[in-house]
């Protein structure tokens, strides 16, 4: 009990800060100039693999300029850039085939590959994917066996130092890594990853397994599974967590890299701030119900029929940094809070042990690392403390005081 009171107190007193969405004119002017230079340089390069031209594809597919510019404008906003970057983003999309992508799968379920092929936007995203120079993708590629190995080898050699290495799945480290082997020599996943990382320009860890270990790393982590950043050192790494990662964020990262030649600004968990800079809760469509204290109390009740807040049913939106509430899934048709289930915190480290249960955090057996509901990644830098968090805190305290009978099975 004392713990929970302490937690509430902490909520009231913790330092508040927000992602800087506006960095001022000077910053953006300088960035603009830098991006412009970068794109001009890319334009002079021959496209690597894919020589398809974006504008041809768009017109072939019947996408008019207006639709394309709509996509550009949405994407520019998603990347947290001012609207005068739009023409540059459009140009960046056109030179995306200058950046080769190699995609490998380790301890995974292929969920991110699957998500990738269902990429979001109507038509435009699909075409953008087509123009990406995807040199190696096991789930889709035609080649197999040593022809596939040859292709991987060829891609690595040809694009030495230039390719983006997308990694899906965690890396088992227990038992000398033998929980996962690949290829004719029976190379372990760790060896495989280390070898392919060496010549990559940057590594993109896609999905929660590749970023933080995900499912295999859930307690008791039988295979000693780890994320890419725990294995690979001395290379730029971008984490795109979530289970699976939102394809919009995968495209966003590639585009950002093309545009700036740099990896996007990251938080302390190496997640791009454009996607993970704010919490699910901050932009949740059910937020008003939270503020009004209107909660679903039981699956399928009147509250559920009226789209009330899912916090009491275990929604972890207040603790989770991701842009699901804005981007949503499958062409925006729905998302976990939309479908009445709530967020399970899948873009946060160790979410299987910390967040993924259908009871609210304050009532749970598993204690938050800081003892409260407001633990976030950059707790001291990014804790977005608003009335909301205070609201949760009060609710948490109230639940705790109400005692066990409202705890729905928690001991």
């Amino acid at each position: 009990m004392t713990d929970k009171r302490e937690a509430v107190k902490k909520l009231f007193t913790a330092k508040s800060s927000r992602v800087e969405t506006n960095k001022g004119d000077v910053y953006y002017q300088r960035l603009y100039a830098q991006c412009k230079k970068r794109i001009e340089a890319l334009k002079t390069l021959e496209p690597f693999g894919n020589k398809l031209e974006l504008q041809d594809l768009l017109s072939e597919e019947g996408v008019d300029r207006r639709d394309f510019m709509k996509w550009v404008s949405a994407t520019t906003a998603m990347l947290m850039l001012p609207s005068f970057f739009e023409p540059l983003v459009a140009e960046a999309a056109e030179v995306m085939n200058r950046v080769p992508v190699i995609w490998i799968e380790l301890q995974d379920c292929a969920g991110n590959s699957e998500a990738f092929i269902r990429s979001d936007g109507p038509k435009v995203d699909e075409i953008i994917l087509e123009i990406i120079s995807l040199e190696f993708q096991e789930t889709l590629m035609a080649a197999a066996g040593h022809q596939a190995e040859a292709q991987l080898h060829d891609a690595v050699e040809t694009f030495k130092g230039k390719y983006l290495l997308f990694v899906e799945g965690s890396i088992p480290t227990a038992m000398n890594g033998f929980y996962g082997t690949i290829g004719p020599s029976g190379e372990t996943f760790e060896e495989h990853l280390t070898r392919l990382s060496k010549d990559a320009a940057a590594i993109v860890a896609v999905g929660s397994c590749a970023t933080f270990g995900g499912v295999p790393a859930a307690a008791p982590n039988p295979t000693g599974a780890k994320g890419v950043m725990d294995i690979v050192k001395g290379k730029p790494i971008i984490n795109i967590p979530a289970c699976p990662a939102n394809p919009a964020n995968m495209v966003g990262v590639i585009l950002h890299y093309v545009l700036t030649g740099q990896i996007p600004e990251l938080d302390s968990l190496l997640r791009p701030k454009f996607a993970f800079g704010y919490r699910i809760h901050d932009n949740c469509e059910r937020r008003a119900h939270f503020d009004a204290g209107e909660f679903v109390e039981e699956w399928g009740d009147e509250g559920a029929k009226n789209n009330f807040c899912l916090y009491k049913m275990g929604c972890k939106g207040p603790m989770t940094f991701n842009n699901c509430s804005i981007v949503r899934y499958n062409e925006g048709v729905n998302w976990p809070i939309g479908v009445g289930r709530g967020c399970i915190g899948c873009s946060e480290p160790d979410f299987w042990d910390k967040y993924a249960y259908e009871r609210p955090m304050a009532d749970a057996n598993i204690k938050a690392p800081t003892g409260g509901v407001e633990k976030t990644v950059d707790e001291f830098g990014l804790g977005v403390l608003t009335a909301t968090a205070v609201g949760i805190g009060i609710h948490a305290a109230a639940s705790a005081l109400a005692g066990k009978k409202s705890d729905e099975g928690e001991k």
Partner: protein
């Protein structure tokens, strides 16, 4: 002269799998071994958790058949708790899983399997005008209008492929076995295949969207909970159901006008292989049964896919399925254990013994001993195959009216005898047959859901007293996943999971040998296949892919003198 082929990675699957094949001097496969090379320990991770939370985690066993794993885990707990779900819940879960079937089967056929039948580069030689005629011909066989019969559209696709080829680097189409003489389609037929490949890549999003309407997202939906579903606001909103139906009707049209005709086309062109039973394998088939058609308590009502076992391809006899007769053997799997165990008593205790000999940088499986992360499941001491073919075979043997009708119509339209089913082609055809059946019945389910909601039934959850029912309980969730019989078994004590086991399609099909040295389904299906060019094991991929493997998979070919010819990787994902 003997040489080695090692195939690794086998691509266009989900997961990690290795197959070693031994070929004789005539390039005929005389032996084969299937091995999964990845382990995550999900069964171990589930122990000690709250049973209500297992579904979300158990779903991550696979990124492809996500919804099926999710529902089975939830149903195993419902079975243990004795919870009967409301009608809306049954319909919504059927629709979520139905959408998965449509998505999975179409993506499998076009994006994971078609390149084993369709030679992309040959499409360049096609005459677009003749292609249009050809497209009409096969649609006609299916009794449908063709999805595409526009000469200019075929010409446009051809131009796109030509651009791809001209630039030298083919990206993901690079290094295929283009030009292999075991590709049997004409250039025009290949152009139809390529055109539909590209169209399906676009359309499959709609099927994923269907799942997301009631599931929240795809892959890995999130709306199913023990006792019900959470999407009451989507059920009560007629516009959501209408959106689902619109997408369904469009996708169903593609299935009837493109997918089915293409399977007739491939089936006819590869009929010789179908007739001589290439890739037939075990010929023992099993279905757990799936898709509840009424609101009786679990396992006591009618099913869309009846359960049963058919042995030796004998359609005149069908054995009743009894879940008690399932056991898993670990003689050749990297686990401790000395006898086959029922899943309720199953143990997952790794005992990795590594590869056998290593030569010239190539590691070989230690096939005399343990060689895979997949256990060997047996049913009443039989090795069996599961999947769409097993469902169709069991349905026909049971005299199921609906299944009988779809299978008979397919064979009649295609002018094919029943025996073609027992082959690689048959496995691929069975998948198409059930896709059409599923698309048709989903229209009925959607209407039923709309009617039920309109009549005022918005019940989406059955209440239960968790403390009471979770004191000491056990249950199982059995269903037909797109790839075949899939089951989760759970034991619960004092509100926590004490044992969890999953026996899934790729366990049945991709398993290694058992304690009697009998082959698993993949292993058996490869025996006797002639490889045109050992450097291009197209035929092995075709047969392994016909199961729609769900574990990343590497195929190795070794000749009878024990030399390795190459490694090919099949990629899949159901390793647990």
């Amino acid at each position: 002269m003997s040489k080695h082929i090692v195939v690794d990675p086998i691509t266009r699957i989900e997961g990690h799998l290795r197959i070693e094949a031994v070929i004789d001097d005539n390039n005929t496969i005389v032996d084969a071994y299937s091995s999964s090379t990845m382990f995550r320990g999900i069964e171990t991770i589930l122990k000690g958790r709250d049973p209500r939370d297992c579904g979300l985690l158990a779903m991550r066993i696979c990124g492809v058949c996500t919804g099926t794993h999710y529902q089975r885990s939830i149903e195993a707990v419902e079975h243990a708790f004795g919870v009967t779900i409301p009608k809306n819940v049954r319909l919504v879960r059927n629709l979520i899983q139905g959408a998965l079937y449509l998505h999975d089967h179409v993506v499998h056929f076009y994006h994971l399997h078609a390149l084993d039948w369709v030679d992309i580069t040959s499409a360049l030689e096609a005459d677009p005008k003749k292609t249009a005629v050809e497209a009409r011909k096969w649609a006609n066989v299916a009794g449908e209008y063709p999805w595409t019969d526009s000469e200019s559209e075929f010409a446009q696709v051809q131009e796109r492929v030509a651009k791809f080829v001209k630039q030298g680097r083919l990206g993901i189409f690079g290094n295929g076995y283009w030009g292999n003489k075991h590709y049997k389609l004409t250039p025009e037929q290949n152009l139809i295949g390529v055109t539909h490949y590209l169209q399906a890549l676009d359309l499959q999003r709609d099927a994923a969207k269907m799942m997301a309407i009631f599931g929240g997202k795809n892959p890995h939906p999130q709306s199913i909970v023990v006792g019900g579903v959470t999407c009451v606001q989507d059920i009560q909103n007629p516009a959501r159901i209408a959106l689902f139906k619109d997408l369904l009707m469009k996708f169903r049209k593609f299935i009837k006008q493109a997918y089915l005709p293409d399977v007739y086309m491939a089936g006819t062109m590869y009929a010789d292989e179908a007739l001589d039973g290439t890739g037939g394998g075990l010929k023992n088939y099993m279905a757990y049964g799936g898709f509840r058609l009424d609101d009786n308590p679990m396992y006591k009502g009618a099913m869309l896919f009846p359960s049963g076992i058919v042995l030796d391809g004998d359609l005149s006899k069908v054995i009743d399925f009894d879940p008690e007769k399932i056991a898993e053997d670990v003689t050749h799997a990297w686990y401790k254990g000395d006898k086959p165990l029922h899943p309720f008593d199953g143990v997952t205790d790794p005992e990795y013994t590594g590869f056998g000999k290593k030569e010239n940088g190539i590691a070989y499986l230690d096939t005399k001993h343990k060689y895979s992360w997949i256990k060997s499941p047996i049913y009443d001491d039989n090795r069996v195959e599961v999947g769409p073919l097993a469902r169709m075979v069991v349905g026909v043997a049971r005299g199921d009216k609906r299944i009988g009708e779809y299978v008979t119509r397919f064979l009649k339209n295609g002018n094919l005898p029943t025996k073609v089913l027992f082959s690689t082609v048959g496995r691929t055809a069975a998948r198409a047959i059930e896709t059409e059946m599923m698309a048709d019945i989903m229209v009925e389910w959607t209407d039923e859901l709309a009617r039920n909601a309109a009549a005022g039934d918005l019940s989406t959850w059955t209440e239960f007293d968790f403390d009471k029912v979770s004191e000491n309980a056990k249950g199982y969730g059995l269903e037909e996943a797109p790839r075949g019989a899939l089951g989760h078994w759970v034991r619960i004590e004092n509100g926590k999971v004490v044992n969890y086991q999953a026996v899934v399609p790729s366990t049945w099909n991709a398993a290694p040998r058992d304690y009697k040295e009998r082959k698993g389904a993949y292993e058996a299906s490869l025996i006797g296949i002639k490889v045109a060019d050992p450097e291009q094991p197209l035929e092995i991929l075709r047969t392994v892919h016909s199961f729609d493997p769900c574990i990343a998979c590497a195929v190795h070919i070794v000749d009878t003198k024990g030399k390795e010819l190459g490694v090919y990787k099949v990629d899949t994902s159901c390793s647990i």
